[in-house]
Amino acid sequence: MARIELRGIHKRYADGFHAVKDLNLDIPDGEFMIFVGPSGCGKSTALRMIAGLEGISEGELLLDGEVVNELEPKDRDISMVFQSYALYPHMTVRQNLAFPLRIAGRPKDEIETRVNEAAAVLQLSDHLDRKPANLSGGQRQRVAMGRAIVRSPRAFLMDEPLSNLDAKLRVQTRTELARLQRRLGTTTVYVTHDQTEAMTLGDRVAVLNAGELQQVGTPRDLYAHPRNIFVAGFIGSPAMNFIAAELQGGEIRTARGDLPVNDWWRERLTGASPNQSVILGIRPEGFSDAALEEGTGPEFDVEIEVVESMGSDLFAYFSPESTGARSQSLDDLAQQSGLGDATASRPGEQLVARLDPMSRVAVGQHARLRIDTSHIALFDPETGLSLADHESTAPTLTSA
């Protein structure tokens, strides 16, 4: 059990690459912390610095209040699950699980009991005498987990442990992982590029981009109150829609029409200059089919271009009619987060609405969509930052 603190951590490589920039995080004991971000954002580097596999260029890493920058990995008492699992191929499952205990010089009977316990927890008891080469992907993943939990370390580090599993197994393992972590109560840092994993697993999520921490918070907090365009676009699937707009006399003017500013936003926009251009962010579920239900809120006519029926949801894609929102942050986002799906070539050029599956919208036809103005976000196109003062938490989240 350990509290992990990162204070002003930097990582600079010899070739000048600045992989991690001024990372500050406090991970309390027992927390399940997720590092999420596009590839190359420095999340794995940060994890490897906590493990001791990479040197820290600047800043301090604390384990339970003690600076461990110079401590060898073996002296940190932290275990790690690698993306490749890194099972020792010349050892059986039993030997793999026993390895950390044997290195630590534990007595034989204790090793035996602990290995058997871990194997039972992970349903590996029948496979103890097999070699990793003869195991399935899921079993290998569980052996890697077992090797991490068997010596009850102070913290678990996991580097994309599920990315080599097929989709179905990944979802199943994800829930098992969450259950296991909750049962053991061990501080866990988990690296992933998959925002779904981040949202479902973590107590808190740290979003990184280009080596910089963008925002830390509970999954709900990140989703509801992204601090900047990057977080807004990265968290949530399908991604948030971005529309170029202007603030004018208490209204948000877009090429599609005007939206009233609700009270919550009005409070936060007092400092905004008149006619300020903004980027309006609307979650796909911020739209609803006006033909389907009664409600209040501004409505728009759009021409539906693509319909994806997922069973529980229906995604309708349409164009924003203007050239789309333009911002350096948006360009970064499109480039780095690989949001360029087949349907949404880049954020801001195609909009998507998550509609009730009963909706009758069809490709090539006009549909009337209603916008729920309580779900909107506003960003500064220059800085990419949210216009909401993030320090004051949203009313819906005071309990979180």
Partner: protein
């Protein structure tokens, strides 16, 4: 594969489809003729040696493909020869010590070259390899002079040192490529699991590089066992003379220096080939085995 007994195919069609079967059917007689020819071509000199070793000294000149009066007398005679027996002992010591030192030192060097980041790594590797390009004859005389000054002439250590200079570059080169193949994750996993760098090396890297070590070790052993030029240059008596040098001296020693001990030389040559054959057969599986299978995702 051999440890897991595969279920027998239920129907002949299934058996037909197995890749092994298909390969067998596709082999043409031309290929077989070629294989037989190559094997005969390669093994014929050895057969000639064996059949000479089984001839009596009178039959040596007889033109026949087989010994007219086969006898093992050459073999019993060769063991009566003190030079040969001492040579066997010397060869065993020199080859074994050279092999062990070469694999030990070579694996450290190779690990550093494969894993650590430092300046001039490739220059070092190139320099190490360039040592092997020197013809032994070029260094035989300088070493002889040096050893005379240092008093290392006609000693076992005086042979082991120059042998290492030739064996180490090859060992280092072979092991460097083997170490490079081992995923870095495995070592890092060992480090996080509580191992020191050396423990990670010994318990994870070395077992996985075992095929490479066996290969390098066998090549070194064969080199040191067969080496002739330095052996005759640097040794003067049976105190340090290795077996190839001892056999080369049969002309002077056996039969008071008057007989032509062809049968004896043949028998000795057959005998010293046997350890190498056993070695290669014993380690064949190790050399071939791909131990890293399953280390990372399949």
């Amino acid at each position: 594969m051999s440890t897991v007994a595969p279920a027998r195919p239920a129907s002949p069609e299934v058996a037909e489809r197995s890749p092994k079967k298909r390969k067998g059917q596709g082999t043409s007689p031309v290929l077989w003729i070629g294989v037989v020819f190559v094997v005969l071509f390669c093994l014929f000199p050895f057969y000639w040696l064996v059949q000479i070793s089984l001839r009596t000294s009178q039959d040596i000149g007889v033109a026949a493909l087989y010994p007219p009066n086969p006898t093992l007398s050459n073999y019993s005679d060769v063991f009566q020869n003190d030079d040969f027996v001492a040579g066997l002992r010397n060869s065993a010591i020199v080859a074994t010590v050279t092999t062990l030192l070469s694999v030990l030192v070579g694996s450290f060097a190779a690990y550093a070259l494969a894993r650590l980041r430092f300046r001039g790594k490739f220059t070092i590797l190139a320099l190490i390899l360039s040592v092997t390009t020197f013809p032994p004859i070029a260094i035989a005389l300088p070493i002889f002079q040096l050893w005379t000054d240092l008093g290392l002439n006609n000693t076992l250590i005086g042979l082991i040192i120059p042998y290492l200079t030739f064996a180490l570059p090859l060992t280092t080169y072979i092991l460097t490529s083997f170490f490079r193949e081992i995923p870095r994750d495995l070592e890092e996993a060992a480090l996080v699991d509580g191992a020191t760098r050396f423990q990670a090396f010994r318990k994870v890297v070395v077992p996985l590089a075992a095929p490479g070590m066996a290969t390098a070790g066998i090549l070194t052993f064969i080199f040191a066992w067969n080496e002739y030029l330095l052996a005759i240059t640097l040794t003067t008596s049976k105190a340090a003379r290795t077996v190839p040098a001892a056999i080369g001296n049969f002309n002077d020693t056996a039969g008071g220096g008057y007989a032509q001990p062809v049968g004896l030389i043949a028998a000795a040559s057959v005998l010293i080939s046997i350890p190498l054959i056993i070695l290669v057969l014993a380690f064949q599986k190790r050399i071939v085995a791909g131990l890293t299978a399953g280390a990372v995702k399949g």
